[in-house]
Amino acid sequence: MSAIEFIDVKKQFKDGDTTIEALKTTNFKVEKGEFVAIIGPSGSGKSTFLTLAGGLQSPTEGQVKINGENFSEEKEKTRAKLRFKKIGFILQASNLIPFLSVENQLKLVDKISSKEQHLSKDKLFNQLGVSKLVKKYPEELSGGERQRVAIARALYNDPTIILADEPTASLDSERAFEVVEILAKESKEKNKAIIMVTHDIRLVQYCDRIIEIRDGLMVEKDAEKIKQKYAREEDNEN
């Protein structure tokens, strides 16, 4: 059973009289334990793809399944519940709630689903290196710290799927590598499916698969080749 499956998924938008095909008919699967990078120029349909995968919008045609459940045909209420349990979102600008301290960001999850088992907060904070920041508010954190807390928040309810929309956009290279490394480790150790949309081609060395979206069309790339190419370039630079 695939973690995410797109079956003949198509998404169109109306813009005045013209119809824009944000995503052309797509068949696509991500298995548990896979770390997939989505690359492509802006406006190519990357975000559309991610929001379809996260059930934030419904496809015009076709079906999106997560863990075998037909996700895209459910009502928003059911989708929200599934999202809450099964999907962790990591957004471009951190998705933290400004008036909650770091530890309360996670406590909020407890309040909403008190019956569910969650990961240990301390362990998670330790793992992400933010255990000293638990009393601080997002505005007091640096971009990197904020993003790491956002990852802690996304991992906290132990989702099977993590969707990351340019999680490194606001970070310097060092921090960016750090964050992607954490995600890669998570996908291998906890057997999670991770889809990361990124502009930064250097980060793909941590990914198992690379998919390029161009004008709404998804093309699977040869990951090894791209990785080698970038590895060589870096060597040359050195």
């Binding site: 975000s47 929001t51 349990k85 998705n95 709630i97 008036f99």
Partner: protein
């Protein structure tokens, strides 16, 4: 509750300001309620003291005690277990014992000392002769009249000596002076009339009334109070002011909550993308509104209670705990209903926009 409270704690200034506005409106409502209640009480406490059910007035009097004239002997034609003669006239007194000769507007109630209309004496004794009078204690507090003081009447030769005080005896916003029926004759008509045709104003009945003469009109004490000159107008005026203020409070807090909700649209969108339901977010906004309103109303209520101790006795201000609680509950209900129209906005927030 978790979200609501943590946000209030985090943005202390913003939320204290909202609470401050709520407090000011609540205080204004409570203050007006206190004034309205106090003024209403000043119209009627003397009547409430009777603990009576019915009053008989002459038919042509149109519920106006002063205009009703009944012969004393009519009392015998009224078939009721507890019945009492009542005579009333407004008057102006001057305290001869004080030096400034201040004139005081009062209301004389002529009663029989042994009837159930006789007030409870808190100081001194009940009047025993036609020259003695029992006064409402407010004349003591406000004008310094003491037991033993001799009062003279404006436009009248009669002199009266204060022999006792009672509490909470006001009629049409004037302090009441209780005299005998005979003394009343001298005050009102300037001559004694001990005959059975002596004129009085009404007959008060406590409990069941079996039969009464045809030329008298039976009025319940409740209606009699409502028909006191000016009483309904005052109560209605204040009632409308208080009612509108409560509605305005609801609108003001509704607008605050709406603006705050609009500001937090993006945050709410992110929360929805994470799968937090609109219901949870809406609940937290409503709980937050309730908390803000609750704190404002409670501080308002406490301040109004404090105010009642600081105001001079001349201000007819009186707190009634039943009204205080009732108005508080109304304000809270209305404030929360003001928050309800933000719920629609929350439901309509598209999580997609928060991400894009």
């Amino acid at each position: 509750m978790f979200l609501a409270w943590n946000e209030i704690k985090h943005a202390k200034l913003r939320y204290s300001l909202v609470m401050g506005v709520m407090f000011l409106i609540a205080y204004l409502v409570f203050f007006l309620t206190g004034l309205a209640y106090g003024l209403a009480q000043d119209n009627r406490t003397a009547i409430d003291k009777w603990q009576a059910d019915t009053i008989l007035l002459s038919k042509e009097a149109n519920s106006n005690l002063n205009m009703s004239m009944i012969a004393r002997k009519e009392l015998d034609n009224v078939d009721a277990k507890n019945k009492a003669l009542l005579a009333q006239t407004p008057g102006v007194i001057v305290d001869n014992s004080s030096e400034d000769n201040e004139k005081i507007d009062v209301s004389f109630l002529g009663i029989e000392a042994d009837s159930f209309l006789a007030p409870k004496i808190v100081e001194g004794k009940m009047f025993a002769s036609n020259d003695e009078v029992v006064a409402d204690s407010s004349v003591k507090e406000q004008y310094g009249i003491k037991i033993g003081d001799e009062l003279s009447l404006s436009g009248n030769e009669k002199k009266l000596t204060v022999v006792g005080f009672t509490e909470n005896a006001k009629f049409s916003v004037s302090p009441v002076l209780y005299t005998s029926i005979n003394a009343f004759q001298e005050i009102r008509f300037e001559k004694e009339d001990t005959s059975e045709n002596a004129r009085i104003n009404g007959i008060v009945i406590r409990g069941p009334l079996a039969a009464y003469p045809d030329d008298l009109e039976k009025i319940s004490v409740g209606n009699f109070i409502n028909d006191l000159p000016g009483y309904s107008a005052q109560v209605l005026t204040f009632g409308f002011m208080i009612g509108f203020l409560i509605v305005i409070a609801a609108i003001v807090i509704g607008i605050f909550v709406y603006v705050l909700t609009m500001q937090k649209q993006k945050i709410f969108g992110v929360m929805k993308a994470q799968g937090i339901s609109s219901g949870y977010i809406a609940k937290s906004v409503i709980v937050q509104t309730f908390l803000l309103a609750f704190v404002g109303v409670v501080i308002g209520a406490l301040t109004s209670i404090l105010t009642s101790f600081l105001l001079p006795a001349a201000v007819p201000y009186q707190n009634n705990y039943l009204f205080l609680i009732g108005v508080s509950i109304l304000m809270l209900l209305f404030a929360v209903s003001g928050a309800l129209f933000s719920v629609r906005t929350i439901v309509k927030i598209d999580p997609l926009k928060a991400i894009g």
